[in-house]
């Protein structure tokens, strides 16, 4: 008897997705606040990203004459992919809006498609810097995706399910005691993937303003107004989705009460944002040459977890 009913759309799942949509810009605020505390500054208001989004949505967009329809499509497709991924992701052990056998591949594919849209829009501008950023993003995506797929495969093998919601619903303290090292390896690998996917230190520095060292930020330089708001919000949704997954894996506290479980899941997401802030304040970003090595290392960890399970 599966723990998750695949065919029904639950009002609860809808509420959880709406919660993600409403709270995801706050994650940036939490990370920035942690960094500010570490640096001894007051920092931006916690709700700064909401203000930014509102300001950007009020503005008009400027399009260069060299760009084609690809350029405005990039942010739209990116946001659409992030939203679709959010629908698949469970929160606090409760299923996402959609779930079916094998949806973990759709999940990884959606994240890839979003990245492709951003990179294609960046190439469409014809700017050499944006081409460089797109090239780097794609180069780092190769090991990151491998690590993610292998990590999810290890989770699928550990829990005996191919659906994200089912998989994370089955992970609890008992399973941690039985297969702790494997889950810890997978969790570490997925955390590194999270840092790479959301473009945080040590892979990418969201605050850098030197085009030569930027990766994600340089790809979105030419976007303005609502397009930039879509990209920013898409990043937030993506971060929320990945954090919710990882929190479900690392802190599988299940009480049985749906409301309590969801609030625990949300607490886990914000705890991960806190950890990301601490990581960002305590270390510098890696040299560009070292980033692929870090991500290949994450792939090795995922592969190790999978091999430990398959032996």
């Amino acid at each position: 008897m599966p723990l998750v009913d695949h065919n029904a759309v639950h009002w609860g799942a809808l509420a959880r997705a709406a919660l993600g949509l409403a709270l995801c810009p706050l994650l940036f605020g939490v990370i920035n606040r942690v960094k500010a505390k570490f640096a001894g500054r007051t920092g931006q208001p916690l709700l700064q990203t909401y203000f930014d989004l509102a300001r950007l949505l009020k503005k008009g967009a400027v399009y260069s004459r060299t760009t084609t329809w690809l350029f405005p499509m990039g942010p739209l497709l990116g946001l659409a992919c992030a939203l679709a991924a959010l629908c698949l992701a469970p929160l606090g052990g409760m299923p996402g809006l959609l779930s079916f056998e094998g949806d973990l591949f759709l999940f990884a594919g959606l994240l890839s498609l979003g990245r492709f849209a951003t990179a294609a829009a960046a190439l469409d501008t014809g700017s050499s810097f944006e081409g460089m950023g797109a090239s780097r993003e794609m180069q780092f995506a190769v090991p990151a995706e491998l690590a993610q797929i292998l990590g999810l495969a290890a989770l699928a093998q550990a829990t005996g399910s191919l659906s994200l919601s089912e998989m994370l619903a089955r992970i609890d303290m008992v399973r941690w005691e039985a297969a702790g090292p494997v889950l810890a390896l997978t969790g570490t690998a997925l955390f590194l993937v999270l840092l790479a996917e959301t473009c945080r230190i040590p892979v990418d520095d969201p605050n850098t303003h030197l085009e030569l060292t930027m990766i994600h930020e340089v790809m979105v330089l030419d976007h303005s107004g609502p397009d930039l708001a879509f990209i920013l919000y898409g990043q937030g949704v993506k971060m929320w989705t990945l954090c919710a997954m990882l929190a479900g894996l690392l802190a599988p506290v299940r009480s049985g009460d749906p409301l309590l479980d969801v609030s625990l899941g949300v607490a886990g997401v914000f705890a991960l944002a806190l950890v990301m802030g601490v990581v960002e304040s305590s270390m510098a970003r890696l040299r560009l040459l070292l980033v692929p090595r870090l991500l290949v290392g994450a792939t090795a960890l995922s592969a190790l977890a999978l091999i430990l399970l398959l032996r």
């Binding site: 090991p143 090292p181 090595r293 290392g297 090795a300 592969a303 091999i307 430990l308 032996r311």
Partner: protein
């Protein structure tokens, strides 16, 4: 629940991956020392009860691999005045990917081999194979003489891991013999590195191949 032996074996795999992925020779030497100390516990855990012979092996292993070899290697590194980079022929990412492939091959190979006795953890044979493969890979692909010595030690660690749990009888004699051999080998290699460095001002084995009379 993984036992302490399996915990050490997983640690062995992780340190092997670090050895493949890092560029600092100093970190490599520390990782090998770490492996050696972890392995020193294996003879104690493999048996039901503590005996003097297994205690002696553990103490000798920990002393040699945890203290003597690193000291020797750090000293030759210092005296050779080289940049503390590994400078491999194969890129670090390539090495890591080789590590994953080697791990898969060793698991496949380990699954086909009969376990040498009851009470031997399933993970042991794959991990020992993996460590030996990583050592061989390091000897072939690393450019500097010091990192080749480190890779040789990794290879020996793999053999030791295999022997420490699998061999129950006549262990003391065999292990002590191996330890003595390794000690002499590392000693000689240390002297050789020093001599090579004094003659040629470098310890790059790639450039030694183009020597002329």
């Amino acid at each position: 629940m993984l036992s302490l032996v399996e915990f050490i074996l997983v640690g062995l795999v992780l340190t092997n991956l670090v050895l493949l992925g890092t560029s600092r020779i100093g970190l490599c030497i520390r990782m090998v020392a770490f492996q050696g100390v972890g392995l020193a516990f294996l003879p104690l855990l493999g048996h039901g009860d503590l005996t003097w012979s297994s205690l002696a092996i553990s103490a000798a292993t920990a002393l040699l691999k945890g203290w003597a070899f690193p000291t020797l290697l750090f000293r030759s590194l210092e005296s050779a005045h080289v940049r503390a980079e590994v400078e491999p022929y194969v890129s670090y990412s390539g090495s890591l990917l080789f590590g994953v492939a080697a791990l898969a091959v060793s698991v496949w190979l380990g699954g086909r081999m009969p376990l040498p006795g009851p009470g031997v953890p399933q993970l042991l044979i794959p991990v020992a194979f993996f460590t030996i493969l990583v050592g061989l890979f390091g000897i072939v692909t690393r450019r500097k003489a010091v990192s080749q010595v480190v890779a040789y030690l990794v290879l020996e660690n793999g053999i030791f891991a295999f022997g420490a749990v699998a061999l129950r009888k006549a262990q003391l004699l065999v292990e002590m013999g191996i330890l003595l051999d390794v000690f002499v080998a590392v000693f000689v290699m240390g002297i050789a590195i020093f001599r090579i460095n004094r003659e040629f001002d470098h310890i790059d084995s790639g450039r030694l191949a183009s020597l002329k009379e």
